[in-house]
């Protein structure tokens, strides 16, 4: 409740005790307790109930006095840190560190304050507490000769349906497949990168070679150098390569030579001779113009001009 004193004064002036309160206020002002301006009434600090004796009594009143087997409750601190859990925590820590170092956009937080890592550590604490409970309670149950583990042939309704478990399994599989795929893609990318680097290297090497040869040629032209051995070396290489490459072409040449002849006189070889002109075996009489002979059965298609004219007439 926050009340301005002005309001208070106006309220009190309406009531019968107005003069009293006013005089009180005046006295307070005179003493220096009141200062000009807005005076606000502050709340008393809230007190929180904590009735310990009543709590204990209540607890005694409704507490069950039953053997442990009826309730199965236990108080236990977290189990000692197993090495595999410690390894997991370390792994998470490294993962988070690398994430933060690789991504500059993420806010820089020290590893102790990292929320993701802290979440993981907290969950691990709960896990260890549960572990401690299991490790302490199961032997107790075994001592009482109560079966604890479900035999494989005992079937009963489960908390989660088979359909739901199928979904969970599928989800896990999908995650694994995704991981594998991403790893494969990463490898492929790396390979491609290496391949490209190799390509560039060979290209540069070739360029350098070419440059060297050209330089030497230039020197020879100018008369500085007279050694032509390097050209021969390369020439030998090239012929070797060509020989291997053009095996097919050589065969083709051979065949062509057989067919069309190779060497000898070419002039006049296409001229008519007495024998060739006398040979009439290839002669065929041409069909008579007008299409009287063989074209009778076929529909005759007139020329384009005529076709157009016909079309126009129809219209």
């Amino acid at each position: 409740m926050k009340i301005k004193t002005r309001k208070k004064i106006s309220e009190s002036s309406d009531s019968n005790l107005s003069s009293d309160s006013e005089t009180e206020l005046q006295e307070a002002f005179a003493k220096g307790l009141l200062k000009p301006g807005l005076n606000v009434v502050e709340d008393a600090p809230k007190t929180f109930v904590n009735d310990e004796t009543a709590l204990k009594e209540k607890l005694l009143e409704f507490k069950l006095k039953l053997p442990w087997i009826e309730t199965l409750d236990s108080l236990n601190p977290p189990a000692p840190l197993a090495p595999e859990i410690a390894a997991q925590i370390l792994e998470q820590e490294e993962k988070q560190k690398s994430l933060r170092s690789n991504n500059k956009k993420l806010p820089t937080i020290s590893i102790e304050n990292d929320p993701v890592l802290n979440d993981f550590k907290r969950e691990m604490m709960f896990y260890r507490q549960a572990q401690a409970a299991v490790l302490s309670s199961i032997p107790k149950l075994k001592e009482m000769k109560i079966p604890t583990k479900r035999p494989d042939d005992y079937f009963a309704e489960m908390a989660k349906s088979d359909k739901h478990m199928q979904k969970i399994r599928q989800n896990l599989m999908q995650k694994q497949v995704g991981k594998e795929r991403s790893e494969k893609i990463k490898q492929l990318r790396l390979q491609r990168k290496e391949g490209k680097a190799l390509q560039i290297q060979t290209k540069l090497e070739r360029q350098q070679e070419k440059k060297q040869i050209l330089d030497r040629v230039k020197k020879i032209r100018k008369g500085v150098d007279r050694n032509l051995d390097f050209l021969n070396q390369d020439g030998v290489k090239n012929t070797k390569k060509d020989g291997v490459k053009n095996k097919k072409a050589l065969e083709k040449r051979k065949w062509r030579n057989e067919r069309f002849g190779h060497g000898g006189k070419k002039r006049g070889s296409k001229m008519n001779t007495r024998e060739s002109s006398a040979d009439v075996s290839n002669y065929k009489r041409s069909a008579k113009p007008g299409g009287k002979g063989g074209l009778k059965g076929k529909a005759v298609r007139p020329g384009k001009n005529r076709r157009n004219n016909l079309k126009n007439r129809r219209k």
Partner: protein, 308 residues
């Protein structure tokens, strides 16, 4: 039916053979807890799912339709008596945003009101465990539950509600899951783990939630308060504080930015050598307004032309 008749026969035989009072059978359902699980109107779907999960985990629960908001809480006591229940677990939703859970020991109390947050239901796919429906859980409590009287009271209430009674007809005989209740920054964190192997390998089943105790009352749904949480801030108030602080922060940060800009402002924007400007002239100005020397030259030329 057969088995029943057999039992009857056996009992008859035993009566005939021995006159001693029959020994108390060990296979007795002594701890008869029944929990009424229900909610008021105005619940979120997630909270409803949480309630459903708890129902599947507690074979000793009794269902009940939604309660109207207009009814007073003391009616719950009558409802529980009608249903023959001695515990109540009531879910109360506010604004479809906040969830409160009431836990109560019926007739004589105590009752506790919790604010609940960080809820994950059993349907989430990252919780991969599973357990028999209705098997008895091991209850694991943080050692801090013994340090304060209100925590030990909460422990007793939680263990009575969440512990499945021995030999309950709907329960299963094996032990394949653990509930953990841990106290962290004044809240009680609940987790449910499956026991995969008895040497301590676990997987989580769910649900997960965090109970923030608000108040403990002496009676069931009423009576004088025994304990109040001094650190509790209602979710609505918390949200409002966050909004206000965001606003205030925005203003303050703006002011700070301005001050910082003023403080770190450089005196000269560029370091220029003043001598550079003495000898160099602006080329554009030079073209537009020719210098005195050039003008003189022009004049001379003109004069020379005239004389020629």
């Amino acid at each position: 039916m057969q088995s029943k008749s057999n039992k009857r026969k056996r009992s008859v035989q035993s009566k005939v053979t021995s006159e001693e009072p029959p020994l108390k059978k060990a296979t007795r359902w002594t701890n008869k807890q029944r929990v009424l699980v229900f909610c008021s109107r105005g619940m979120n779907f997630r909270y409803r799912h949480l309630m459903q999960d708890l129902k599947t985990l507690l074979p000793h629960h009794r269902p009940e339709p939604k309660m109207e908001r207009s009814k007073t809480l003391s009616i719950v006591n009558d409802m529980c008596e009608m249903k023959n229940c001695n515990k109540a677990l009531m879910f109360e939703g506010r604004r479809k945003l906040d969830l409160y859970i009431w836990m109560s020991n019926i007739t004589n109390g105590p009752s506790v009101k919790f604010a609940v947050d960080n809820i994950h239901t059993m349907a989430e796919l990252k919780l991969t465990g599973n357990c028999l429906r209705g098997s008895r859980p091991l209850l694991s409590f943080d050692p801090r539950f013994d340090e304060m009287p209100h925590y030990s009271l909460l422990k007793e209430l939680l263990s009575q509600i969440f512990g499945v009674p021995n030999r309950h007809p709907k329960s299963q005989p094996f032990f394949d899951h653990v509930y953990t209740f841990t106290i962290l920054d004044g809240r009680i964190w609940f987790r449910n783990f499956q026991i995969v192997s008895e040497d301590g390998a676990l997987t989580e089943i769910g649900p997960r939630f965090v109970l923030n105790p608000v108040k403990i009352f002496a009676d069931s749904f009423g009576g004088p308060p025994l304990w109040e949480n001094p650190k509790y801030v209602s979710p609505a108030k918390y949200r409002r504080q966050m909004q206000l602080s965001a606003k205030k922060d925005k203003y303050i940060s703006k002011q700070q930015q301005k001050l910082r800009a003023e403080a770190t402002k450089p005196e000269t924007s560029y370091e220029l050598n003043p001598l550079d400007q003495v000898f160099k002239k602006d080329p554009i100005k030079q073209k537009l307004i020719p210098d005195n020397d050039q003008l003189k030259k022009k004049r001379k030329n003109r004069k020379g032309n005239k004389t020629k």
